[in-house]
């Protein structure tokens, strides 16, 4: 690893190395700022700010941009252009990662509309309270038998719970997609600003939480 600072580094460019990287993530200051001000993650791919997107089409757009900006294809350019290509590629990659995942996309879309899950994000969504309790209990059992020796019964119970969580995730994902479609229509029809985002937020929050839960269960299953 190398650590550099300000003007001492020539590969990652000086001075604006900082501000440009900042821009890439949070829309900061300096020379490259026009890029972010005009181009959010959706417009990076020439897409409208809609919640429903065609993933195949998004990927083609991502590949097309990469072919123009990737540092590997800029080796015959000046170091400044190579550095700019590096940053632009990093931005595009980040945008792609965010937009292609429905939950990340939803959260990002909310942030563009000045909204966020806020403190609701930290609380267990009410729809999930019972499930969370049950899962934690099962995981507790699993940990107990793991320390004391193998017990396949508990493991298969946890696996069953994992299966149920998977189905539930699929179900909530479907609801999210339906809601995305409705929200897009509302936004397009009215003032350009969607009216009620409470349901979108609730579904996003539920899915977000489910994902965390599934990750925990998988981790315990792996360890067992």
């Amino acid at each position: 690893m190398t650590v550099s600072e300000g003007s001492t580094d020539t590969t990652i460019c000086s001075g604006c190395g900082m501000s440009a990287a900042k821009q890439m993530v949070c829309g900061g200051c300096g020379v490259v700022q026009p890029l972010t001000r005009e181009v959010d993650y959706f417009t990076t791919f020439a897409l409208p700010r809609s919640l429903v997107i065609d993933l195949e089409d998004l990927q083609q757009r991502y590949y097309a941009l990469s072919r123009q900006l990737h540092p590997d294809l800029l080796h015959d350019r000046s170091p400044a252009e190579q550095t700019a290509g590096l940053r632009a590629t990093a931005l595009v990659t980040r945008a792609y990662r965010t937009i292609k995942d429905p939950v990340q996309r939803g959260l990002y879309w909310l942030s563009l509309h000045g909204e966020s899950l806020g403190r609701d994000n930290e609380r267990v969504p009410p729809e999930l309270a019972a499930t969370v309790f049950e899962v934690q209990e099962k995981l507790e059992d699993l940990r107990a038998v793991r320390d004391g020796g193998a017990a396949n019964g508990v493991r298969s119970e946890v696996e069953a719970v994992r299966g149920e969580l998977g189905c539930r995730m699929d179900d909530v994902t479907r609801r999210l997609h339906d809601n995305f479609a409705t929200t897009d229509r509302n936004a397009a029809g009215g003032t350009g600003q969607p009216n009620d985002l409470a349901e979108t937020k609730a579904i996003l929050s539920e899915l977000h939480y489910l994902k965390t839960l599934v990750r925990d269960v998988d981790k315990e299953l792996e360890a067992a």
């Binding site: 000086s14 604006c16 181009v39 590949y63 990737h70 540092p71 294809l73 252009e81």
Partner: protein, 607 residues
């Protein structure tokens, strides 16, 4: 134009390749016709060294110190050594924690990058001869699962060998390039790369020349070496060698060698005799059947399957989503390996390309991509391990998740916990574990700040991972707006000063004038810079701001003037200044590229 070469710097064997009009080709040794150089270095008592086949023949010779599998030691510190490592080699020791390890060779202490550099020099010599021009720029492959320190160590080795390392490419990705170009396959491909000392699994999506890595996993200390070790153990348990003999380094090396040979024979034979003849003429042997061999090595093969499952999971795939499996690395010649891989992925693996050459061929293709010879292919690789920092309570806070496509960057802001702190300490970590102590320490550094009440200072730290998977960190005190210098000590790595010193001390460079070489390098870079900038000014005339062209041209004129002189430091500084001046223009060109593609897309959407 001078060619860029691709190098497979392997644990057991190394190869060098390049791309010509007909495709990638490996450069064989002119004298012997052999394609690969065994990655073995032997040091004679007088300090001179031998690389390759001749060095391999000296393994077990008590008059020389031979180092094999040096790749396993790249980027490591003493605390990472196993008992078996210590049984095999003598280490210099005595260094403090976080220092790079060094082999004890006679009265010298030699770091792994220096040993690797000797192998690279041998490869470079071959290429210089074959291509007629000295080669100075290279692509080098590394295991996908190599961490930052291991990557950095590989770059250092290149530099020590007099090569500018333009790019590190992950070995399975390189293999996929060679395979993809050869077969014109599209779809999901799993590359199972089981080499001499490392194991990687990568899952890629191939589509119209884009090679997108979806997930990668592996073990940088698992390979054919472990199979040899298991076989050696099996041999020593029943061959009747007296214990006091069996524990010497020379005999261990001979047994290893015998294990390696027996393993290779069993890839086709059903039974073989593993035998060792000692220096005193004593002969020991044991018959090994294929089924016994399978039983001995099964635990090693088993260890490759966990990473395969994890990679599939990270890619969001099941075995049935994989269209093709490509086998890479000498260890995939073992029939049991093929059986297990076939069972896991539920399909027969491909092995049309020579598993020993496919990585080098891919490195040659990537070299062609970088030089502009190959324009229709592009790699989108990932970072194999998560990166983060240590936060309160010794916990790892992840900033970049594993399998994130690179290049990528992230910014985070830190503050202080104590009043009037004059610095913020940042401990950079790599790995998947929750506790900082369980992750790999990449670096520690301290950012000086303006003292203030706790919680007030804001230090912005930017992590940027380049296409090589190497991390760059920059830092800024937000409150004062000052860019602060960061003092960093890379863990288990050589500092720039050490590399410089080694270069100056190395025998080959002592013969030439170091200053002359540095001047020549600076001039070449300056000329390239002038050429590129001229082109940019011409192509981007309409994007130039007021007075911008004049400023840039002024700076170019100064650089041209300096070229007539002999001060390489001045030339370098002027290159930096010109670079800084042309940066805003370059950034506008890149933003326009994004917007340009946007307009074209919208237009085609309308149609």
């Amino acid at each position: 134009m001078e060619r860029i070469v691709g190098i497979d710097l392997g644990t057991t064997n190394s190869l060098i390749a390049y791309l010509d009009d007909e495709g990638p080709r490996v450069i064989a040794d002119r004298a012997t016709g052999r394609a690969s150089v065994p990655s073995v270095v032997a040091f004679r008592p007088d300090g001179s060294n031998i690389v390759g086949d001749e060095a391999r023949a000296l393994v077990g010779n008590p008059d020389t110190t031979t180092i094999q599998s040096v790749k396993r030691f790249m980027g490591l510190g003493e605390e990472h050594l196993t008992d078996s490592d210590r049984g095999q080699y003598a280490f210099a020791g005595g260094d403090q924690a976080g220092a790079v390890l060094r082999f004890q060779v006679g009265d010298r202490a030699i770091s792994p990058p220096e040993v690797s550099a000797l192998i690279l020099r041998e490869l470079k010599r071959r290429a210089d001869e074959a291509l007629g021009d000295p080669v100075t720029r290279a692509v080098i492959t590394v295991p996908a699962y190599f961490n930052d320190s291991q990557r950095q160590a590989t770059k250092d080795a290149g530099r020590l060998a007099g090569l500018k390392v333009l790019r590190l490419v992950n070995e399975p990705t390189a293999a996929a390039l060679a395979y993809g170009l050869d077969s014109m396959t599209e779809g999901s491909v799993a590359v199972y790369d089981f080499g001499g000392g490392t194991f990687d699994i990568s899952i890629l999506k191939l589509e119209r020349g884009i090679f997108e890595v979806k997930a990668t996993n592996g073990d940088t200390r698992l390979g054919g070496d472990d199979i040899d070790a298991s076989l050696s153990e099996w041999f020593l348990a029943g061959a009747g060698l007296p214990t006091e003999l069996a524990s010497t380094r020379e005999v261990q090396a001979l047994v290893r060698r015998a294990a390696e040979d027996a393993k290779c024979r069993l890839s086709s034979a059903d039974e073989t005799e593993m035998e060792v003849t000692l220096a005193d003429g004593g002969r020991y042997a044991r018959v090994l059947s294929r089924s016994e061999f399978d039983a001995v090595i099964a635990p090693v093969i088993e260890r490759t399957l966990g990473p395969c499952r994890q990679a599939l999971k990270d890619a969001g795939m099941t075995p049935s989503d994989i269209d093709e499996i490509v086998l890479v690395g000498g260890s995939t010649r073992i029939p049991l390996v093929r059986t297990r891989v076939e069972a896991l992925f539920e399909r027969a693996p491909h092995c049309e390309l020579d598993p020993d050459q496919v990585v080098a061929l891919g490195a040659g293709i990537q070299a062609g991509i970088l030089s502009g010879r190959k324009k229709d292919m592009l790699l989108l690789d990932v970072v194999p391990l998560s990166l983060g920092i240590e936060t309160m309570g010794g916990v790892t806070t992840r900033l970049i998740e594993r399998n994130t496509t690179i290049p990528t960057g992230v910014v985070d802001t830190f503050t202080t916990a104590v009043d009037k702190q004059t610095a913020v300490d940042v401990h950079v970590l790599q790995g998947e574990r929750e506790l900082a102590a369980d992750c790999r320490s990449l670096a520690r550094f301290s950012i000086p700040i303006e003292p203030a009440t706790a919680g007030f200072p804001r230090v912005e730290v930017t992590f940027m991972i380049d296409a090589n998977g190497i991390l760059n960190v920059t830092a800024r005190d937000v409150r004062t707006g000052q860019e602060r210098s960061v003092d960093v000590k890379p863990s288990y790595g050589l500092t720039d000063e050490e590399v410089e010193r080694m270069l100056e001390e190395s025998i080959d460079f002592a013969e030439e004038d170091v200053t002359a070489r540095l001047l020549a390098e600076a001039r070449t870079e300056a000329e390239g810079m002038l050429r590129h900038t001229e082109r940019t000014l011409r192509d981007a005339a309409e994007r130039l701001g007021e007075g911008e062209a004049e400023q840039i041209r002024g700076s170019m004129a100064v650089l041209r003037d300096l070229l007539t002189g002999t001060d390489y430091n001045e030339i370098r500084e002027q290159i930096d200044r010109l670079n800084e001046l042309s940066t805003p223009l370059a950034q506008r060109i890149m933003s326009d590229a994004i917007k340009g593609s946007l307009e074209r897309k919208s237009a085609s959407d309308v149609v």
